[in-house]
Subunit: 182 residues, 2 copies
Amino acid sequence: MAAPATAPLTRDRIVSAALSLTKAAGEPPSMRTLAGELSVTPGALYRHVAGQADLVALMIDEVMEHVEMPDEATEPDPWRRIRAHVHSLTKTLDAYPGLDRLIAHHGDSSNAARVRQQWTMDQLRTAGLNRRDAGRAYGALDIYWLGSRQRTQRSVATFLFGLDRLLEGLRAHSRNSSATSG
Amino acid sequence: MAAPATAPLTRDRIVSAALSLTKAAGEPPSMRTLAGELSVTPGALYRHVAGQADLVALMIDEVMEHVEMPDEATEPDPWRRIRAHVHSLTKTLDAYPGLDRLIAHHGDSSNAARVRQQWTMDQLRTAGLNRRDAGRAYGALDIYWLGSRQRTQRSVATFLFGLDRLLEGLRAHSRNSSATSG
DNA sequence: ACCTGAACACCGTTCAAGT
DNA sequence: ACCTGAACACCGTTCAAGT
């Protein structure tokens, strides 16, 4: 599988190499290290990628595209769909240590991120939350999974315990507000 | 208030200047910038501080010492004490933009952090959680406030909404487990 | 069109040498 | 004892010059 002579430098090869190095080192490579891995000069990267920030965004896109969003057939309860989705986020990021910190720094304004947000808010509305509460609930869940990736990693048990408490609180809130208007 | 001639370089002056620059710039200064602000050469800093990581730890210590931990006289309900404490964390960090990210990266293994952890777990146990659940609940709260500081800042309303849902879920959990053993 | 080589303006850290 | 000056080994990014 050795590349014959010199494979053409493309955006995909750059992103792929960056992710591979991240996986191996536990943190994203510098532009210079990345260039070296691709047997190229640092300046060459800038013909295919606008800069480090752009590259980071592409890496995040690539990884986050594989997060699960179960449908009603697979999982009839919307709360369990949300739980599976958030759990999937952490499992996905476990494969690329250091990428979670990049997401925290850089944010994620990709299309995929907007799709995930819309999907989550749809589930929350299906579960009975009004539009304002669904927006806030999405924010709270986003805060929670992101926080779980920072600092010294917490145990999975702690993460799931808190996630279940948060979902339970949201469900109770949804019951109360629908009771008020019923 | 101009310093006469040359004030002696001390650890306190270094930490104080670093925090002041962080407040002004929205992000922590480099060692070189910090040295320049103190009218000194970068190497001089290393006589008083082990390095950048050490300095960051000292900055975190200094700031986090002012987080509120209300007592029973001020606030009789343990859940409200916890809520006030977590809210105080965010208010404290609002004064030093950029420091929250440092905490996420660096962690906080100071004595003050251990005191806060112990205090929070005491409140949770008072509120009825057993030791294991109190540990996990502390972890979940830690995840939540830390996550709220990352990326583009969420609104206060979203933060408080999620915090209240999480606390509600924890309270419900404590009621269920005490009912089981009662 | 694409890449190299070299430069610019930065980093954190160390340490002989000065005072 | 404390600080300076200079160096070492890095960064991200730009851009004339080569092919």
